[in-house]
Structures are given as structure tokens and as C-alpha cells.
Amino acid sequence: MAEPLPAFVQRHSADWKALEAMLDRQRHGKLALDELFALERLYRKTSADLATAQTHYAGTDVQRFLNQLAAKGYGAIYRARPDRKAALKDFFAKGFPEAVRETLPYTGVAAALMVLGVIVGATTVLLEPTGAALLVPDHLLDLIHRRELWTDRALEANTPSEMATQIFTNNLRVTISAFALGITGGIGTVLLLVFNGLHLGAVMAACGRECLGFGLARFLLAHGPVELSVIAITGGGGLVIGHALIEPGERPRGEVLRERSSVAVRLLLGCAPFLTGIGVVEGFVSPGTLFWWPVKAVVGAALGAAFWLYVLRAGRSTAKR
């Protein structure tokens, strides 16, 4: 027979109050070493009291109070080591490149889908010029017909710069959407990648027909390699999620989804700074004739090579050890 409830409360409540006060101060990080020992002792005692309350005083406010208090103490004591800077460094030295290498086949499929789109879009416009009206946005088509390339004037005044900003935000949107649409079982990602390629192919072909093709190529040279790689990698992340949904294998679907999506999220987080950096190149180097086109080609090739070298090599030697 357990002791009466009020006696139980009165016998222990001083300890509970002490733990409460200590947890409040711990949140502000002001505990000395001997206080930490006391905290640990009080937490264990409260856990034991909670177990007693669950047995003898189930459904009372005392049990709910102890449950809340033990939960607070548990959160304070068993928290992950807050080594945030090292974690960030570790992520870019190892976590991100490893995730890319692990999902390389998906990246390949995403890239292939984009290439497919480009080919279909380009052939359509080349064989049937009126098709351009369907695939290329009106305002771009208008400029192309006037034989102006918006990209040449991107550093000048307002209207073309509007467009260039749009291109960048568009890429950002495509990147994030391609990833997010993985939740539709990958169908949305596939469609988005193909359509994005379709637009690109159609615009290139339309420019080519009006003898602006070389100008567009000059615009794409510097930032194209890295930017398209980043879109392929994050698109691949979307496919990873989609694949986990469609074919989870032997384990529960939710469990596989969580495991695979944590890999995919690493892809997206890792790509974010590269996407931002390449946006700067796209803003400074790519437009206009400020740089001679072979310079742009060299910059583009060097950035692309550096990016892939990093992604394929970084963190490898430590993995072998």
C-alpha cells in the first residue's frame, strides 16, 4: 500500500522545486560543476518519483507534473553535443560530397532527362519554327525576332536586367521545386526536368535560327557547367525521394522515406552555396561583352572541373582509413 498522495507530494516537493529552479538556470548556462552533479542527482530522483507516481497515482496532477518535469530534465541532460562549427566543416569536407557520390546514378538520370528535353525542344523548333511560339515565352521570342539578345544587355538599364533576375530566380525555383516534387513519387521531378530542358532547347534553337546562337552560347559558357550540374544533383535528390516512395523494398515505406530523404536533403543543403556562388558569376561574368568569350569558356570549364573534382574526391582518403 502506497503512502497517501498528499504525504508523497510533501515529502518530495522540495526536491522537485529545486530541480525546476536548476533547469531554469541551466537554460541560461550558469551552473557550476557541483551544481551539475546535484542536477543529475535530482533528475534521477525525479525519474524514480515519476515511476512511483505512474504506479500508485496514475491520472493525477502529480503524475502529469512529474512527467513534464522529467521531460524537461531529459531534454536538458541528453542533448546532442553543440559543436556547430565543426559539424558545418565536416559537412562540406565529407557529408555533402559523399551524398553526391552515393546518388550519382540519380544525378545521371536527372541530367539525361534534361538532355532529352533539350533535344526534343531544339528539334521541334528547328523542324517546325511555329512550334517556338508554344515553347518560348512571348517576350523572349519578341526580342529574338528583333535580333537582340537579352543577355548582351543584361548589365545595362532596366528591362533586360529584369529578365536576368528572372532567369536566376527561375533557376532557384526550378532547383527547389525539382527537389520538392520528389514527394509526388518523382513524377513531378521528371516532368519539371524535361520541361526545363525543353524550354532551354527551344530557346537555343530559336536563337540559332535567327543567328543569335553564338551569342547565347557565349552567355551560357561561364556559369552553365556548374549551374546545370547543381540542377542535375538536386533533381537527382528529388528522384531519390521519389524512388524511396515507389520502391521501398522490404522495409516500411515511411522509414525508407526518412532515411533516403535525409540523404536528399544533404544534397540540397550542400548545393545551396554553390548555386549562390554561380549566381554571382552569372551576374558579373556571363552577360555582355565585358569578357572576351574564350575567357568565359575557360572560366566555365575551370569552375565546372573544380566543382566535380571537389565532389568526387573530397573526403575520400579519410573514408578509406
Binding site: 502506497a2 497517501p4 498522495l5 498528499p6 504525504a7 507530494v9 510533501q10 516537493s13 537554460r27 534521477r44 525519474s47 524514480a48 515519476l50 515511476a51 505512474q54 500508485h56 497515482y57 491520472g59 493525477t60 496532477d61 502529480v62 502529469r64 507534473f65 512527467n67 513534464q68 522529467a70 521531460a71 531529459y74 531534454g75 541528453y78 542533448r79 546532442a80 553543440p82 556547430r84 559539424a87 559537412f91 543584361a154 548589365l155 532596366n158 536586367s161 536576368a164 533576375t165 536566376f168 530566380t169 527547389i176 521545386s177 520538392a180 514527394i183 522515406l257 526518412r258 530523404s261 535525409s262 536533403v265 540540397l268 543543403l269 549562390t276 549566381g279 554571382v280 551576374g283 558579373f284
Partner: protein, 237 residues
Amino acid sequence: MSDLKLDVTTPERVAIDLPIAGIGYRALAYLIDVAALSGVSLVLYFGYSFIGPSAVELYQDAPRLLRIAAFIGAFVVLWVYWTAMEVFWNGQTLGKRVMHIRVVRKDGAPVTAFESAVRNLLRVVDFMPACYPVGVVTMLVDRQHRRVGDLVAGTLLVRDERIGLERYAEAGPGGGLSTRDVELVTGYLSRFESLDEAARVALGRKLAASLGLEAAKADALTAAEARAYLSARLKGA
């Protein structure tokens, strides 16, 4: 009050359960956060427009690179707001603190920076295409009311219940009342002031009768007498 709980077993082999916050709590906390953020931006905007040129014109005249930077900057500031608040403020943002809810990992421990960053990055996905339709549908379907960001990061929101022990202060140590009776009587006494007169009388008579007072005497009690009788029994008389 939803009865849904997150069950956690601590390393001490004691089971704790945390009440899960539903969609209403989450939506209100979000609205409070958005109101606070909009308030700050409005003050900054008008404050700036007051001393300098109009901020909108400034944005329209800015070179393209700066505008891209502003676009990214705004996104990053918002992302950092949610993440930093959750990491440094024990799983709470402003709105979550007002609503007494907090983000925890699915094992009940506090969120790490990575998990918080993930769930707040995927806010964009939950928001698509406008005003959180994706997030709301996911929360309605999921048993633990998680949105897509929570599912991916392995986090959820729990409520902080504030339960005091004041109601037991009056009780004498012995008393001879059963646990159930102590709970009922202290509940009645602590809520006495907020009940209306009819309820005070009805509940008081019922409780007094259940503690063994003869039916005829119990039915003649006024509210004040019932309170005096019950608190005397609680003290162990």
C-alpha cells in the same frame, strides 16, 4: 485537448509522454511569428523611407546583382530567424513560446542545428504554392501532425503543459482519503472561485456525500459550508 502523446523511454527506463501539438496551435504560433516579422519589416521600411529615399524605388533602381543579393538575403534572413530561434531558444520561436509549444526530435530530445535547418528550409515546400496547402494536408493526414519538413527532419511539436502543485498545499499528510478522493477534492477547492454558485453547491454536496457525510446533512450544505467541510476532511479531520 487531444490525447495524442509522444512516448519516450529515457535511459533511466522511465516512460515519459509528451502531448503533441495539433494544427491549431501550430497555425496560431505561425501567425504570431509572421505578425512579428511583418511588424519589424514595416518599422524598418517606414523608418528607412523617412530618412532616405523610398526603399521600393531604391530596389527598382538597384543594379541586378544587388537585387539578386537582396532576394537571397531576404530568404536567408528568414531561414536563419527560424533556425537560430529554435536552436538557441530551446526549440521555440516567438510564436511557439507564446503558444507554449516547442520543436523536439522524435525521441523527445531538443532539436539540433541540422534538423532545425532542414525543417525550416523545407518550409518552402510546405508553403507551395501559397499559404501552406502542402503542409496542412500533410499535418491532417499524419497521426503526429507533422508537416513535410518535420517528416524529413524527424521532428515534431509538443505542448508544454504548465501544471502546478499548489492544489496539494492545503492537504494534510494523513487524512485517510483515497488518491482518487484527494484528486477530486483538491480539484474542486482549487476551482472553487471560478465556478458559479449553482455548480459550487451541486458539486460540493455530491463530493461531501461521496466522502461519507449522511445524505440529509449533505443536501442541506451551502457552498461555503461544503468548502469548509471538504477542506477540513482534506486536512485530515
